[in-house]
């Protein structure tokens, strides 16, 4: 079952080559990728993820504003009761900040030098598909393979 993944670049960061490479790698691994492009607001990223019923959101941030941007996305997801969407990301993020991001709920940060295969493997092992057993569990995701 293909995962549905939003790839987004929040904030004022114009370098999208990395995000596009990840998008293609995920597509080549059989997943459905919705690339939302540059200069997105956290509000628009979350609204998109909910309409597209995304399994995960990958944020690419090279501008240094990662702490506030990731935090804002997570807070909006919590407000919209969509905390089952897995958040991951990449970019120019110092190690200390990687830890802080993990603490606030970001599942994984991929720093420069990560291979696309590593990213694909992680997504397939850690991003589940919506469980369709009953209404309550419909809000959850199966954390193992689909």
């Amino acid at each position: 079952m293909p995962r549905r993944i939003i790839l987004a670049k929040p904030g004022l960061d114009g370098h999208d080559r990395g995000a596009k490479i990840v998008a293609r790698a995920l597509r080549d691994a059989g997943h459905e990728v919705i690339y939302t492009g540059l200069r997105q607001t956290p509000e628009s990223i979350v609204a998109t993820a909910i309409q597209e019923d995304a399994d995960a959101i990958g944020l690419s941030v090279l501008s240094g504003a990662h702490l506030s941007l990731f935090a804002r996305v997570l807070s909006l997801l919590s407000e919209q009761k969509a905390v089952d969407i897995v958040i991951f990301g990449g970019g120019i993020i110092p190690n200390d900040d990687v830890d802080r991001l993990r603490e606030i709920g970001v599942a994984k940060i991929f720093t420069p030098g990560t291979s696309t295969q590593e990213i694909v493997n992680w997504v397939e092992g850690n991003v589940g598909c919506r469980v369709i057993d009953d209404d309550k569990r419909f809000r959850e995701r199966n954390s193992v393979n689909c």
Binding site: R27, D28, G30, I50
Partner: protein, 319 residues
């Protein structure tokens, strides 16, 4: 109407109230082809049928997504709520897809009256039609005034999702090779509105002329809809209000002429046929693998032909 299934009931209530998460999850359910789909769609079906369903199709590079985004703005300007289903092909090799239409729609992301869903074809052509059409039912039941179905058209009217839209807009663009010849014959015939996008480019008037010529060759009887050929520049909105108005005029014309009833009837025929094919396919998929493979072995060994094999399954498994 409620069912015994609490999930279906919860989703139905949410869709009818226009709630975005319920709409999104219902569309996921229809994409998964889950058994509950039938219960969900049967409870939503009576509430659908109000919306104007518009198909927008055309070759890659024609600016369809930008045009759909601009049309959405024009519709919002006159107070209509809009649902959009944008279909992109899945790679037949990897099964994955880059769903790239959303990137043009971002100006609408803060507007709760606009709901957009990107859909991958996921292989089977018939499968696409069902998921996209079921998505239309959901958006219709959710109260959207206008629903836009955006695809790369292939012009095969049997399976083409364009054959089930109420109004079909075909988009072309100047200088895309021999752009009018590039429009497959099927696409030309199903168009209710022709749009030449990127019409600020050189060659736009020639493209309009070529379309006019081809339309003249396809004789339309008196009393039939006069297919307009419009020029737009989707990136700055030029001509898009006229496009919106032409679609409204088409709808009004269909309502006045009984054509809307004919198209809705044709759509219902298509959906029942596809639902039947879906049932048969499911039964076939339920045949135990060993048994299925054994029959394939016999076909390969030329002991029986494929039709006889299919008939055997039908008899044995009441397909």
């Amino acid at each position: 109407m409620s069912t015994a299934d609490p999930l279906v009931n919860a989703l139905t209530a949410g869709v009818l109230a226009g709630e975005i998460p319920a709409i999104a999850r219902s569309i996921s359910l229809v994409e998964r082809g889950d058994d509950r789909v039938r219960a969900l769609l049967s409870t939503l079906h009576p509430s659908a049928g109000r919306a104007h369903v518009i198909g927008v199709t055309g070759p890659a590079g024609s600016g369809k997504s930008t045009l759909v985004a601009a049309l959405t703005t024009a519709l919002r300007d006159v107070g209509r709520s809009v649902g959009i289903i944008a279909v992109d092909p899945s790679s037949s090799y990897t099964g994955g897809a880059l769903l790239g239409d959303r990137i043009r729609m971002l100006r609408h992301s803060g507007d709760s009256a606009v709901f957009m869903r990107s859909m991958a074809t996921r292989g089977a052509i018939g499968g696409l039609a069902r998921a996209a059409l079921d998505g239309v039912t959901i958006l219709d039941a959710a109260g959207k005034d206008t629903i836009i179905l955006e695809t790369v058209g292939v012009g095969q009217s049997e399976v083409d999702v364009m054959s089930v839209a109420q109004s079909v807009a075909v988009v072309s663009v100047p200088d895309l090779g021999d752009s009018v010849q590039a429009l497959k014959a099927g696409l030309l015939e199903i168009a209710d509105v022709h749009v030449v996008n990127k019409s600020d480019r050189e060659g736009a008037d020639r493209t309009v002329k070529d379309l006019l010529e081809m339309l003249r060759l396809h004789h339309r009887a008196a009393g039939q809809w006069n297919v307009p050929i419009l020029k737009t520049v989707a990136t700055d909105g030029t001509g898009v209000d006229v496009f919106r108005d032409a679609l409204d005029q088409h709808r009004a014309w269909m309502q006045a002429n009984g054509e809307l009833k004919r198209r809705d009837r044709r759509l219902s025929v298509a959906r029942v046929k596809w639902a039947f094919a879906d049932l048969a396919e499911r039964r076939l998929r339920a045949v135990p693998e060993a048994e299925f493979e054994a029959v394939i072995d016999r076909v390969l060994a030329r002991k029986i032909d494929p039709y006889t094999a299919a008939r055997e399954f039908q008899v044995a498994h009441s397909v």
